[in-house]
């Protein structure tokens, strides 16, 4: 085999010469450890290679082998519950080989070659199949049935297919296609930088429920939609994404730790296996795939980890599943792009980022969507993407944040001031948005016909309160008229009783939709009940004395939804009593 050689090493960038058949995107193996890199530029007989592993110890003259294949993901049973690095090497397997510390050059197949899976055919000999058809299934975990698809680009007649226990490389079926016989296995591969094809895109109609009130009720995300969660350090990006990974009503969760903390990934790895899905009662790990490329692992592999994650997600989408991706943090990925661009001496745009940063961000979020998959039967799957953004100095006008906002459907803008007072999730209700409110409002009507009305009113009260607060900051709350003070009171009740949701409270960590809609309604009804009293001249202090206020604000901590009605009755009691006292009609 012809080989090229290194002529320069400079951080993660390697310059090589005489690399045979070099094409952009070819994966190469560099040096004695066969480190993995990708060709990113070609000039004459020189190539620039982005190396995904630590380049220490490489030297001019070392060999470069061209695999002539792009960076690919291995797809098949065995993905779920696994934790991978950015190149899809299983970190738990690496640990058994290399010990407690990561070591470059350690190679292990992403999917076990020995494990046998029970394969149940869904088609018979002689059946005609096309790309994307399900030819059979295997139960990957208690929660997920792995559906084996005819690989993209293939179609023909099934000539042999048998139920049985197979490894992922054993032939499970033979496909006759244009007179050729092709063995099908449970494993296939896909180049990570190319989106997997589908038949057509569908409009988004359903929320991806997360059990987090401020998200589901105020700034929802749709299945197949996109969201960004920017915020300075310590404002709650990671905890929010962890919460979504735990409680989101998706079939598959893909969590990408991209350039963030090791202890946080350890937290996920350790605690997910203990947690139960509130809907199925099964263990959360049975639907979760993790990619952990932490901040002190090679920078360039952050790039790979993002594409690896989204490719695996699309593969499960194509099986007809709703998949949700969390990427924490996309800023670290952008920094990896900046790093390599700087080494290539490209002319930077803003803050040193390359001019193609907008394209890359757009392409990533474009891989979200709800689609009709390939295959002869009608099947729908979705990929929802949520990305954390870490703006330097907490300044949202920096390139990565401002660009990301252009491409996402939902913004959860985290607010340092809220985080300081431990108002979590610190999602600022004035700065955040969701383009999906309208479409999911139909869905909410299954719980409350008037959902949109109450939600709109709640938003209005919060907005009004923020204006009043500005005045109060100058003249003091005491000097405000009572109707405005009532708004402040109700806004505070909405904040504490609804928006604040403690991630580590055993009950409040997850809030089911029914409870959300009832709570929201009751808070607004509280306003509707008390407003006439204020109009009739009853002082605000009297309303503040209601015992039911505390109970109302504590409702979120109670599991029983029925209790909400009890508190509502108490509110009504107190309203009536007070009205009577002042001789006011209600």
């Amino acid at each position: 085999m012809l080989k090229g050689e290194i002529i320069r090493v400079y951080g993660s960038l390697i310059i090589g010469k005489n690399v045979p058949n070099a094409k952009i995107g070819d994966v190469v193996q560099v040096g004695p450890l066969k480190l993995i890199g990708e060709i990113i530029r070609i000039r004459g007989n020189e190539v620039s290679i982005q190396c995904y592993e630590d380049t220490s110890g490489l030297k001019p003259g070392d060999e470069i082998l061209n695999t002539e294949r792009p960076l690919t993901a291995e797809l098949g049973p065995g993905l779920i519950g696994n934790i991978y690095d950015g190149l899809e090497f299983s970190e738990s397997v690496i640990r058994t080989i290399a010990g407690d510390f990561m070591k470059k050059g350690v190679r292990t197949a992403p999917l076990s070659r020995d494990k046998k899976w029970h394969f149940t055919p869904k088609v018979k000999n002689g059946d005609k199949v096309v790309e994307g058809d399900i030819i059979g299934t295997t139960r990957e975990t208690l929660m997920i049935e792995h559906r084996i698809l005819v690989p993209v680009g293939l179609s023909g007649v099934i000539r042999e297919i048998k139920e049985g226990d197979y490894t992922i490389t054993d032939p499970i079926a033979t496909l006759e296609s244009n007179g050729k016989k092709i063995d099908l296995t449970m494993m296939q591969t896909w180049p990570v930088r190319i989106p997997r094809p589908y038949k057509s895109r569908l409009p988004l109609t359903e929320p991806l429920l997360t059990g987090q009130r401020v998200i589901d009720s105020f700034f929802p995300i749709a299945k197949g939609g996109t969201a960004a969660i920017p915020g300075g350090f310590g404002t709650g990006k990671t905890v929010t994404l962890h919460q979504i990974a735990k409680w989101a009503a998706a079939d598959i969760i893909l969590y990408i730790g991209c350039g963030e903390r090791g202890n946080e990934m350890a937290d996920v790895v350790t605690h997910f296996p203990e947690l139960e899905d509130p809907r199925s009662g099964k263990k959360l790990i049975e639907r979760t795939i993790m990619i952990a490329n932490v901040s002190n692992m090679p920078v360039s592999a952050r790039e790979a980890s993002i594409y690896m994650g989204v490719t695996i997600a699309e593969y499960f989408r194509d099986q007809g599943y709703d998949v949700a991706i969390m990427a924490d943090s996309t800023s670290r990925w952008a920094e990896a792009l900046r790093d390599i661009s700087g080494r290539l001496e490209e002319i930077p745009a803003e803050a040193g980022y390359p001019a193609y940063l907008p394209e890359r961000i757009a392409e990533f979020y474009e891989r979200a969507g709800r689609v009709v998959t390939l295959g002869s039967e009608y099947r729908v799957g979705s990929v929802t993407i949520m990305g954390a953004v870490s703006p330097p100095g907490g300044d949202f006008s920096e390139p990565v944040t401002s660009l990301t906002l252009r491409f996402v459907g939902t913004l959860w803008a985290l607010d340092t001031a809220l985080a300081f007072r431990r108002h979590f999730p610190a999602i600022n209700w004035l700065m955040s948005f969701s383009r999906y409110v309208e479409l999911v409002s139909k869905w909410w009507q299954t719980y409350d016909k008037e959902w949109l009305k109450y939600k709109t009113k709640a938003t209005a009260i919060l907005e009004e309160a923020s204006k009043i607060e500005e005045i109060a900051r100058i003249i003091g709350e005491k000097a405000l008229p009572d109707d405005q003070r009532l708004i402040l009171l109700v806004a505070e009740m909405i904040r504490e009783g609804f928006l604040v949701q403690h991630a580590f409270h055993e009950v409040d960590t997850y809030c089911e939709p029914e409870k959300q809609s009832k709570l929201l309604r009751l808070l607004i009804e509280f306003y509707e009940f008390t407003e006439p009293l204020i109009k009739a001249g009853i002082p605000i202090e009297k309303i503040r004395e209601f015992k039911s206020i505390v109970e109302l604000m504590r409702l979120k901590e109670r599991r029983e939804v029925e209790y909400i009605d009890k508190v509502k009755n108490k509110v009504l009691e107190e309203v009536k009593t007070l009205a009577k006292q002042y001789g006011v009609e209600v």
């Binding site: 400079y10 220490s56 110890g57 070591k103 350090f233 903390r261 040193g352 007072r421 000097a479």
Partner: protein, 462 residues
Amino acid sequence: MVEKYGLIYKTVREIRGPLIFVEGIKDALYNELVEVKLPDGSEILGSVLDTSAGMAIVQVFGATQGLELGVTARFTGDVIRIPVSSEVIGRVFSGSYKPLDGMPPPLGEKREIHGAAINPTAREPPSEFIQTGISAIDGMNSLVRGQKLPFFSEAGLPHNIAAAQVARQATVPGKEEDFAVVFCAMGIKHEEYEFFRREFAETGALERCVMILNLADDPIIERIIAPRIALTIAEYLAYDLDMHVLAMLTDMTNYGEALRSISIAREEVPTRKGYPGYLYTDLASIYERCGRIKGKKGSVTVFPILTMPGGDITHPIPDLSGYITEGQLIFDRDLHLRGIYPPINVLPSLSRLMKDGIGPGRTRKDHADVSNQLYMAYAEGVKARGLARIIGEVGLSERERKYLRFADEFEMKFVNQGVYENRPIERTLEIAWDLLALLPEHELIRIREEYIREYHPRYRKA
């Protein structure tokens, strides 16, 4: 006699700041250790930053005075490694690991100073509460073993006194274990170092201490390797010798400046304030070397101190540190001027690992709720204080006045304490409850009702 290994070059063609350009070398290893010999016979270390056929760019980690084109550079054929053994405990080294205590150079197993990342699946999530005896930390921002938790301070604030207090008082309640302190000074003043040395000597910690010293008048570039040497020793003590290691790194701002000067010499495209784009990753390669490993007894707790230039927390060094560390403890000039010690402003402070270190069996079951409520109440109080400055206290509502009073008392009684006052966590929580009792009970919305009934002074007396 041991033959010196490696290839010697005398072909230095250019010297630019801490960078030397060596010509005629065919195959320097990326990151290779280079020993540069100065005309006066002294030697400084360097490593290869860029290697190509015919040229290597070496960054040196020592004083560049005296460097000239005629120096010899020995390419050692290996990356930088240092010998480690239990013997290093109690010793003092320079920032490039030369003995400063008159004893011979250390021997032992050689470890690469850049250290590999701990495999995420090998990490044990830190969960052992360290009691520092300081209420603002223990009560509101608890430290756990294996965490990285920095002080963000400003010049002139008593962060060193507080750091020494932490080092002196830190214990895991109910445990007597093997511990060590690895102290890494980067660009701090002699008197600051003398202060720490005295402190450690007084408490007997000195013999459990390894010092890596790069003081204000030592070569700036040495600061690049000093913390890496310190952490290599820390990891060895923790994971090979089962010790609980507290790695104190001060001052990380000086480290960042050293990194910047190399980047500028290399003419790299800067991002903010002249700092290179890789500052985040570089800092992470230091801070991330904390933690616990499954099945191992020891731990590395990283305790960095940094001064925020101009008190600006959005400055790249505190900013990117905050994105990496597991929280931050923020020193506040205003509190200091009002005589509060330690002047820790709890509102912007945070310990991300607190939740795993507190609660029943660790501290107390009401701890999380109490701290949460204190945050909210103090934030309200500070808001009321701001308002009172504009409209006067008379303009405040009854409720606001209560919160204002709470904030004052909170600073005076909870945050404020003696330099030698070591408060057990129970005492910290007791003070907290006494303060919360200043507020109407229905305001304590973040505390579970059952805890109110168990711990609120009103019910405690009954």
